[in-house]
């Protein structure tokens, strides 16, 4: 039990004391998760919109594939990304293995189906009267799309928060693609895995607390945005 209490104390020490390895892991985590979130929202939002807004042949199959992708284990994504960006792989030339960019690519693959699926079902659940109302108020097609997206902003926000939670906490991709390199690709979660492996539970708990704090701040600021 001691190490749980010790973990709390250690967490405060690490953060206030400006421990460089802790802070670089925090920054690496923030950097890589922000990047993958921007990428996955940038791609997932339009795809989710298309999927939810239009009816087309094969839509059902696409949804099934997407729903399967929701269940992709992070280690599998990590392995696949590794196979592609390994120097022997098709994208080896880019030298992305053991970089934050590599992790970001993997996390984007992790977050993309979440953003897409939630956006699609949010769009699908749009009140059928909304479109009619907009048309009869004189909205053109572009207005309709923009207004629909704005109407479901909370749903999209929920998609982003869910995806962010997954990206922030995953460890498989960061470990396999990033290699847990100290001061470079060591993120909070891979650092926790390492500290646990070393038997340093207190340090692991401390880092876990940091992670929870980040998640809390993100959610807090989003709920504040929501009130606006």
């Amino acid at each position: 039990m001691d190490f749980i209490v010790a973990g709390f104390i250690k967490a405060i020490e690490l953060l206030i004391g400006g421990d460089s390895s802790t802070w670089t892991a925090v920054f690496a985590t923030l950097k890589v998760s922000t990047c993958s979130m921007l990428l996955s929202i940038g791609t997932g939002l339009p795809c989710g919109f298309l999927l939810g807004y239009f009816d087309f042949k094969g839509k059902k199959h696409l949804r099934t594939i997407l729903d399967t992708m929701l269940a992709l284990p992070t280690v599998f994504i990590g392995l696949t990304v590794y196979a592609f960006i390994s120097r022997q792989g098709p994208l080896g030339e880019l030298g992305l293995l053991f970089t934050l960019t590599g992790i970001a690519i993997g996390q984007t693959i992790l977050a993309f189906p979440i953003v897409t699926a939630i956006t699609a079902s949010t769009i699908e659940n749009i009140d059928r009267d909304l479109k009619l109302t907009l048309v009869t108020l004189g909205a053109g097609k572009r207005h309709i799309v923009a207004t629909c997206l704005w109407e479901v902003r909370y749903g999209i926000l929920a998609a982003a928060v869910t995806a962010y939670g997954r990206v922030l906490t995953e460890v498989g991709i960061s470990m396999m693609v990033g290699g847990n390199i100290k001061y470079h690709t060591r993120t909070i979660t891979t650092a926790i895995a390492l500290e646990t492996n070393k038997g340093l539970f207190a340090d692991g708990i401390a880092l876990g607390l940091v992670l929870i704090t980040i998640a809390f701040i993100v959610n807090l600021s989003l709920s504040f945005l929501r009130k606006q």
Partner: protein, 346 residues
């Protein structure tokens, strides 16, 4: 006006949802500046017709002319001129002010918004101070409907289509919405097409009533509809007429239906009213019932009379002199007569 000016002209319209035909209109004209009442049971096609008139849908077949020009959904000419208010309008997840100015913003019309919103709100009995900054979820059903109405009125539309606008609101909201829609016609010459179950309101304000049943339009207003089950009579099996047996023992005889039809229409003009059965006049249907309501049609001065025959309702439009000659009043027993051959099937 001597020469009639038509806002709408619908030609050979057929509309399907999947394989089901929901609307079938050969030819329909709606006069500019007129008020048209749309009557019919739920699911008869009223809402679909209004959506077509709003150019929110393209008919499966046929053409719709607006002011003489063939128009299609999203055409810029109709987009800014025609608007529709539904029974449960969608309010955007924004403030009342933003909801009301949405249409104006699309039109890039940003002049003096505050004053215009004030006026629009006042028109539907809402106070600017109190309501403009409210969020969409801070309104009662009736208030939301009035905000939606204000959002349409602020556009000064050429055509205002109302689909059961007061079916689910409180009486005060209903009064204000009725009043505001009339004002639109009076102030800007707006053409109104109103679907409503409030027949008293419709008959009192509309220039013309269209009744719609199973996608068919009857421009003579409400007609009398008899639905099944029908049975084959025991006699005369060769002619294949059908009869409907009422529980009180009366029998309605109807001519044999055309294929694929199952609903009988008996037009008002084919029904006569009398106080006693007249065996000599050859009418094979003489049914006894009693008057349940009488309503004045303001424009024509005729009396819309509803007669109940057991569980069926018949509607006749009677000239005032006939009413006084027969001394008709609600509760009075009358005989309705019509020929089985005058029955139409749809």
């Amino acid at each position: 006006m001597t020469k009639k000016d038509f806002a709408y002209h619908l030609k050979n319209i057929q509309h399907y949802y999947g394989n089901t035909k929901v609307l079938d209109i050969d030819d329909l004209k709606i006069e500019t500046g007129s008020i048209t009442g749309l009557i019919g049971p739920n699911g008869s096609g009223k809402s679909t017709l209004l959506k077509l008139l709003a150019f929110a849908r393209k008919p499966t077949r046929g053409r719709i002319f607006y002011k003489g020009h063939l128009e299609l959904p999203f055409s810029s000419t109709v987009r800014s001129k025609i608007t529709l208010l539904t029974q449960k309008p969608y309010l955007l997840k924004r403030t009342v002010f933003e909801n009301i100015t949405y249409g104006l913003k699309i039109r890039k019309d940003k002049n003096n918004l505050e004053n215009r919103v004030k006026k629009a709100l006042l028109n539907v009995g809402l106070d600017y101070q109190n309501f403009a900054q409210r969020k969409w979820h801070e309104l009662s059903g009736g208030e939301a409907q009035r905000v939606a109405m204000a959002a349409r009125l602020i556009l000064k539309p050429e055509v205002l289509l109302l689909d059961e606008p007061i079916a689910s609101v409180d009486t005060e909201s209903a009064r204000l919405i009725r009043q505001a829609s009339l004002k639109a016609r009076d102030n800007w010459g707006t053409t109104l097409v109103i679907a409503s179950h409030d027949l008293q309101w419709l008959y009192s304000i509309s220039d013309r009533q269209l009744s719609i049943f199973k996608g068919n339009i009857f421009s003579t207003g409400m007609e009398n509809i008899i639905t099944g089950p029908f049975v084959k009579p025991d006699v005369k099996p060769d002619d294949k007429p059908l009869v409907k047996k009422l529980d009180d023992g009366q029998i309605i005889t109807l001519k044999a239906p055309a294929p694929k039809t199952c609903t009988a229409i008996i037009r008002k003009k084919n029904i006569s009213i009398a106080l006693k059965k007249q065996p000599g006049n050859g009418m094979d249907n003489q049914l006894s019932g009693h008057i349940v309501s009488m309503l004045l049609e303001k424009k024509s001065g005729h009396i819309m009379t509803t007669i109940s025959i057991h569980d069926l309702c018949f509607i006749l439009t009677l000239p005032p002199d006939q009413v006084s000659r027969l001394d008709l009043y609600p509760g009075k027993k009358v005989i309705l007569g019509f020929y089985s051959n005058d029955v139409e099937w749809i």
